[in-house]
């Protein structure tokens, strides 16, 4: 069994909201007196006997982490996932020794390097060469180490020509490449990485992930990795920790945790139904009875990703006799762009229930958040009623074998057959 290199026990971190400190010098002095000299609890910040905060303090306090305990073994690549504000970055900052926990402790073995930002210690006015040294020192390397790796760092960054140019004249891509190149040549026992892959172009991202993979697999390093990209987490990590509002929700084998996370955080306005027409949305001609969106899944616990077909069902009460009705399903991206406007058949309806159903195929929409509005139209031209944003859903990303983790472009992401072949004629290299 592998050795434990990080042990986190009952870790909690509280941030006080609002004023800096307690707000006044007098209160600060009073607090200082009671905590430092009398050895008592902070009078402005009491915990009751259960270790919970008293009610009046809860308003000003934010528990970024609450009683977190877990172990990390040597060579593990632990992905830390969770929505914004779930405490991921706070956890990394505590393990990196940047902030102090409020309660609990972290113990560990070996040298820790953290990469919470690309280009820590970089200065715009200095040349690339100088910045490699400064940044290296800041990240904990010594002079000899940097000298030894200098050529490798420059080669990795691919900016040999500009190494003596001040970095303020670099393009942002070059800047990021150089900064990451320094970080990639750290040789800590434990590496802590926070979402640094969000920057940089595709080729460089691939290079970085490759480097991290290499470091963890061949050299037995331990990596803690925070990312919003489930794809990156799944391909890089072998274990995942899911944080939710500062508490540990799940820890374990990566794909199990990631799948649970995805199906847990996806938000759906999946179905709405009204029992009687009086309360239903609509007007004197049309009342909606039901709208429903149902992902067509093979297994009920699977995440809803871009491969999954979506079945939309609707039912409405038609109040007028002898009308030609059609319905337009309009799909918007979360930012309000219209992705498509799909008209139904036009049928002659008498008073009573009208039902409809349509399937949005899998492998068609890009990942992201969407909402659907329904437009009821008479005689294919006269709008009768618009049911705005009646359904909303998230689609998760799925990349399969694709080793690239940037945001996929495009409003849609169709999957047509795209053939490549080599004709028989093979060009011979000039010898």
């Amino acid at each position: 069994m592998a050795d434990t290199v990080i042990q986190v026990e009952n870790l909690s971190k509280v941030y006080r909201l609002g004023t800096i400190g307690t707000g006044s010098l007098r209160q600060d002095l009073q607090r200082w007196w009671t905590t430092a000299f009398l050895g008592k609890e902070d009078p402005f910040f009491k915990l009751d006997s259960n270790g919970e905060q008293s009610i009046e303090n809860q308003k000003q306090a934010l528990w970024a982490l609450q009683n977190l305990s877990f172990d990390v073994k040597q060579g593990e690549v632990l992905g830390i996932i969770g929505s914004n504000g779930s405490g991921k970055s706070t956890l990394l900052k505590i393990i990196s020794r940047i902030v102090k926990p409020t309660k609990g402790h972290v113990r560990g073995r070996g040298k820790v390097s953290s990469l919470l930002e690309v280009g820590t210690g970089f200065h715009q006015e200095l040349s690339g060469r100088e910045n490699i040294y400064i940044s290296g020192y800041v990240l904990g390397m010594n002079k000899e180490e940097i000298r030894r790796k200098f050529d490798a760092i420059v080669a990795f960054s691919g900016i040999e020509k500009f190494i003596d140019t001040p970095v303020k004249r670099y393009s942002s891509g070059m800047y990021v490449r150089l900064a990451f190149a320094v970080a990639a040549h750290l040789e800590p026992d434990i590496l802590i990485v926070d979402e640094v892959l969000a920057v940089g172009d595709a080729e460089f991202q691939k290079k970085c992930l490759g480097k991290m993979q290499e470091v963890s697999q061949t050299e037995g390093r331990t990596i803690l990795f925070v990312s919003h990209s489930m794809q990156a987490v799944q391909s890089l990590c072998n274990k995942a920790l899911w944080l939710d509002k500062g508490k540990m929700k799940e820890i374990g084998e990566v794909s199990r945790v990631v799948n649970k996370y995805i199906s847990g955080v996806q938000k759906f306005q999946l179905s709405q139904e009204w029992a009687n027409p009086e309360e239903a949305p609509g007007n004197d001609r049309i009342r909606f009875k039901q709208v429903e969106l149902r992902p067509v899944l093979n297994n009920a616990n699977d995440p809803v990703d871009i491969r999954v077909p979506l079945l939309v069902k609707l039912a409405l009460w038609n109040m007028a006799d002898e009308v030609n009705l059609s319905i337009n399903l309009v799909l918007f991206s979360y930012s309000g762009e219209c992705i498509f406007d799909l008209p139904s058949e036009n049928i002659k309806c008498s008073k009573g229930l009208v039902e409809g159903e349509v399937t949005i195929p899998g492998n068609f929409l890009n990942d992201g958040s969407y909402y659907i509005s329904l437009y009821v139209v008479k005689d294919t031209s006269v709008p009768l009623f618009t049911f705005e944003e009646c359904l909303s859903f998230d689609l998760e990303d799925f990349r399969g074998d694709i080793q690239w983790f940037g945001k996929w472009w495009g409003a849609v992401r169709p999957k047509f057959p795209f053939r490549l072949e080599q004709p028989d004629l093979i060009l011979q290299a000039d010898s």
Partner: protein
């Protein structure tokens, strides 16, 4: 499977900070960072400038000319047996070291909030590197002082008695640096918590100069208010500095011991304060 006891962990992070903070070994491990920061400061200040490092000498020379003109010629403060140029230059050089060292370290947390919140290293490295930068600048200015002194000895036949006090000069410089660093550490914590204090700091240090024998010899102050100036622990250091280098200054061993004790107490208190508060301040700045 190995079972580890507490002692086998390399490091531990707890909510309480020890008063002593960083271990000396850890500071030593980051010595390259300190050197790199000093190098960075010099590169940043003097690349793309016409005069380059000559700027280090420009400021004291201009100040010297002003002081000699205003205090020597216009007001006519007597500088005793020491030529006014040497008198003012020695005061300016030592005061600049104190002033710059203090001002640079007193904004440690505010100036480095960004980097402190992204990566760990012993926080003390930053003020130490600032002080080192200003120490190097001070050395350049000290060379200027020696050159001027040599000029007076060779061409003006000025007699400078060689006293054992000359050996004490490096210690006086060390004391000045320590007071500057200590006050800087103390105020770096205060200015990070209460931002408006920075105004008070720059005003306070300007006023402090008038209570330090930079512009006048201590003997020039009338007897009944001399104690005010002598209460300033920098006063004996400045007088002893002039006495050691130029052969004239008024200081007693008791006064120097007073300064030394003050320095040691201030240094311990501010170091403890800096270490204890340093970790908490990251949440605040």
């Amino acid at each position: 499977m190995a079972v580890f006891s507490k002692e086998e962990w390399d490091w531990e992070i707890r909510s309480r900070t020890s008063w002593l903070g960083t271990r000396a070994g850890e500071l030593w491990a980051y010595r390259h960072l300190l050197a790199g920061m000093v190098r960075r400061d010099f590169l940043l200040n003097y690349q793309q400038t016409v005069l380059g490092p000559l700027w280090i000498l420009f400021q004291p020379v201009m100040t010297l000319i002003t002081y000699v003109f205003v205090f020597g010629k216009m007001i006519g403060i007597s500088t005793g047996a020491i030529p006014p140029v040497l008198f003012y230059l020695s005061g300016i050089v030592l005061w600049n070291f104190f002033h710059d060292g203090f001002m640079a370290t007193s904004t440690t947390f505010r100036a480095n909030a960004d980097i402190f919140s992204k990566v760990y290293f012993p926080r003390l490295i930053m003020p130490l590197s600032q002080l080192s930068t200003h120490f190097i600048r001070f050395l350049f200015q000290l060379v200027l002082l020696f050159l001027v002194l040599a000029y007076y000895i060779v061409f003006e036949q000025m007699a400078v008695p060689l006293t054992p006090w000359l050996i004490g000069v490096p210690f006086l410089i060390l004391m000045t640096g320590t007071i500057a660093l200590s006050l800087g550490l103390l105020f770096s914590v205060i200015t990070a918590k209460y931002r408006d204090m920075i105004n008070l700091v720059s005003m306070g240090i300007r006023l402090l100069m008038f209570l330090t024998p930079v512009l006048y010899p201590i003997g020039y102050v009338s007897e009944n208010i001399r104690w005010v100036v002598q209460l300033n622990p920098l006063t004996p250091i400045f007088e002893a500095f002039r006495f050691g280098l130029l052969g004239e200054g008024y200081v007693t061993p008791i006064q120097l011991i007073y300064s030394l004790i003050f320095t040691l107490v201030l240094f311990s208190v501010s170091l403890l304060m800096f270490n204890k508060q340093g970790d908490k301040l990251i949440d605040v700045v």
